[in-house]
């Protein structure tokens, strides 16, 4: 009962804003956002790599798709990982990896990436039944497989693309879109940068 009352009190208070003020500031055309959708893909890739590395991320470039499993196995050996958890999507699905079901104890989490943003060095991961959010979060190492054609120039281009794929009505919007720009970081101790405070301390991208 008390809750309903609060809602009314708040709305009543806000409704006293003069109606002539409510109408102002209608939307203008935002030409300055400049999504640059048709920019050169190799430049986008280079920008993404440079910016992701700048935030302590690591990047491996794969020229042929066939060698992905070798690269992943190489990284697993490098980290001496006992258990790996990964998204059950292509191309990971068809690789013969042993899956760790308990994410909290996995040494490495491997995911795809639905998009990436070049000018900030950001991976964009959409959640879904085959794309759990925790795979990129709980293990100390996160490896993301990124298709180079999914890199967009900037955040405005990304939102334009998301808008398009949801046909602007967002009824199918997934429960969580995660933007990931490098490994987990903090500067809370005397402004010293430290990595891996909560999320992965290593963020690795394999570009295919």
């Amino acid at each position: 009962m008390i809750l309903k009352e609060s809602k009314e009190v708040i709305l009543q208070n806000l409704s006293s804003i003069a109606t002539e003020e409510k109408g102002i500031s209608k939307s203008t055309e935002k030409t300055f956002l400049n999504p640059q959708l048709s920019i050169d893909q190799s430049k986008l890739q280079n920008d993404f790599i440079a910016n992701f590395k700048m935030v302590s991320g690591e990047v491996h470039l794969l020229e042929e798709k066939g060698r992905l499993i070798d690269k992943i196995n190489e990284l697993i050996r490098e980290f001496d990982a006992q258990s790996v958890s990964f998204w059950n999507t292509e191309p990971l699905k068809s690789l013969e990896l042993t899956h760790e079901t308990d994410l909290a104890s996995a040494d490495i989490g491997i995911t795809g990436a639905d998009f990436a943003i070049a000018d900030t060095g950001t991976l964009v991961l959409l959640s879904g039944p085959e794309q759990p959010r925790l795979t990129s979060l709980l293990p100390p190492v996160h490896i993301a497989i990124l298709k180079k054609e999914t890199i967009v120039s900037n955040i405005h281009a990304l939102f334009a693309k998301l808008g398009k794929s949801y046909k602007k009505n967002y009824d199918e919007l997934c429960t969580c879109i995660s933007f990931i720009t490098g490994p987990s970081r903090t500067a809370d101790i005397e402004l010293n940068l430290t990595l891996g405070v909560h999320g992965p301390g290593r963020a690795i991208v394999i570009i295919v």
């Binding site: 809750l3 609060s6 009190v9 708040i10 709305l11 208070n13 806000l14 804003i17 409510k22 102002i24 500031s25 203008t28 935002k30 300055f32 956002l33 400049n34 910016n51 935030v55 909290a104 000018d119 900030t120 060095g121 950001t122 959640s127 879904g128 039944p129 759990p132 959010r133 925790l134 979060l137 709980l138 955040i155 405005h156 939102f159 998301l162 808008g163 967002y170 919007l173 429960t175 969580c176 879109i177 995660s178 933007f179 720009t181 490098g182 987990s184 970081r185 903090t186 500067a187 809370d188 101790i189 005397e190 402004l191 010293n192 430290t194 990595l195 891996g196 405070v197 909560h198 999320g199």
Partner: protein, 479 residues
């Protein structure tokens, strides 16, 4: 809520005593402004982004009632539940009730100014619910029973030696010196808390009215954990946090990270739309969104100060403020510090108890220049000062009488060239006893109020008007 009057002068005098603090403040504010400057120089359309963000915020606040209803509808559509809280107590009891109904024992929190504002931790803990702050800075502050020092970096007033000692005492580990080692200890301690938590509490950076999506921006990953791992997620938002359209998030996300920390993007941005859906293996099973008013709808009613609600809590105004740089966060007496604190604290609390804050500014306007939504801080501060003066009207106030008289004399003298000239010459004689080089010191009352804190520049023997005349007439003759 504030119970005692905030004595800004006393608080800042206290803060100025510590050289350690002073060093940390200068170091921190310098670094923040430099990295912000660098980050925004890379964005050619920065000014357009600011204008557009301000326009959107103006639209939101002017129509907040309909946007709140739209947001409620969207959140409900995607399976979440909205709660309306008109004040701090109500917001806290909503959260405590959700916890009780679900037999929650352990809560993990990510950083949120709204929850600091309503003192949620105190309410949860006194209701017997274990509550842990998980942002590293907030965690350190909580372990020492202290208050956050800055909205972005809460523990900048603690040295690594302080933290090393603290961790050693609390967790029985050796006194590690390296920040990375300390971070690793915190990770281990806090990871256990996450895995045993039944409820996660977060703030909200932006809430999209059309989709019911809440956005959380962070660097550590604790907000992702708190909003993904536990079965229940409760998000608390000030009612001003709305963005109408999903695509408009790109504007605010571009502005926020660069203004706050000088990063191109924060490490993690989460766009959360409702609870876990069928087939998903993670994400909360319940999603609650609390709308916190706590005085905000009153701010919205005032045309003069309404823009205080445009704030996106980046902290750029704090880092640039010459006053904050000297006196630090605790001097402002409440959860919000710096220029935004001086503006918001008096409006969300009793004006009499917070009357010092609108005056805790030199009105230099640096805050307005860096604000990503162009809040006109000097204007808002002046109208708050006016409110303070009006509140104390009718009561005898000798200082006000003196000030009025002084300004009356001043306006008389300055509007008549003859008296102006005369006054200038008189000053040159009168200042003889107090002049030391080019400054005046130790003036008699009431001018002692000025010279007690700083020297006054001396009046020139040859005033500007005369120098100008000489130069000008010489030039004329020359022609």
């Amino acid at each position: 809520m504030i119970t005692e009057r905030i004595d800004f002068k006393k608080n800042s005098a206290e803060a100025l005593k510590s050289p350690k603090l002073k060093k940390a403040l200068v170091n921190f504010t310098d670094r923040s402004r430099n990295s912000r400057k660098k980050a925004i120089s890379e964005v050619s359309e920065w000014e357009e982004l600011r204008s557009e963000a301000r326009r959107i915020k103006e639209q939101v606040i002017n129509n907040l009632d309909s946007y709140l209803l739209e947001l409620e509808e969207s959140v409900t559509r995607v399976g979440g539940k909205v709660h309306w809280a008109k004040n701090a107590e109500e917001a806290s009891s909503i959260v405590v009730n959700i916890a009780r109904e679900n037999n929650v024992r352990n809560v993990v929190k990510s950083k949120s100014m709204a929850t600091e504002e309503i003192e949620l931790n105190r309410h949860l803990i006194s209701s017997g619910i274990n509550t842990v702050e998980t942002d590293l800075g907030e965690y350190i502050v909580q372990l020492c029973n202290d208050h956050p020092f800055h909205i972005i970096t809460p523990a900048i007033h603690k040295t690594k030696e302080d933290i090393s000692k603290l961790f050693s005492e609390k967790f029985g580990v050796p006194e590690y010196e390296e920040p990375q080692e300390l971070t690793n200890i915190a990770r281990k301690e806090l990871r256990e808390k996450f895995l045993s938590a039944d409820m996660g509490i977060s703030g909200v950076n932006f809430a999209v009215a059309e989709t019911g999506t809440i956005t959380i921006v962070e660097n550590e990953g604790n907000a992702r954990l708190a909003t993904t791992y536990p079965d229940i997620h409760v998000a608390i938002m000030g009612i001003e946090k709305i963005v109408p359209k999903f695509e408009q998030l790109s504007i605010f996300l571009s502005l926020l990270a660069r203004s706050a920390t000088g990063q191109k993007s924060s490490t993690y941005v989460s766009l959360i739309t409702g609870p876990r859906r069928e087939g998903e293996s993670d994400g909360p099973r319940q999603f609650h969104l609390v709308f916190l008013d706590n005085g905000r709808s009153d701010i919205a009613k005032s045309k003069e100060t309404r823009e205080s609600l445009y704030c996106i809590r980046c902290g750029a105004c704090i880092n640039i403020c010459p006053v904050y740089r000297q006196v630090g966060g605790h001097s402002y007496g409440w959860v919000y510090s710096g220029p935004i604190g001086a503006v918001i604290t008096p409006q969300l609390n009793d004006l009499q108890k917070t009357a010092d804050l609108p005056f805790a500014s030199s009105l230099c306007g640096a805050c307005r220049d860096v604000c990503p939504v162009k809040i006109d801080f000097p204007h808002v501060l002046l109208s708050l000062r006016q409110r303070v003066v009006e509140k104390t009207k009718g009561k005898p106030n000798p200082a006000q009488f003196m000030e009025k008289m002084a300004f009356r004399i001043w306006s008389f003298v300055f509007s008549k060239p003859f008296y102006y000239n005369l006054a200038g010459r008189m000053m040159v004689f009168l200042q003889y006893f107090y002049q030391k080089e080019n400054e005046l010191q130790g003036l008699p009352y009431p001018f002692s109020k000025w010279t007690k804190e700083k020297n006054f520049p001396a009046f020139s023997k040859k005033p500007f008007r005369r120098r100008w005349k000489e130069k000008y007439s010489a030039k004329m003759e020359h022609q």
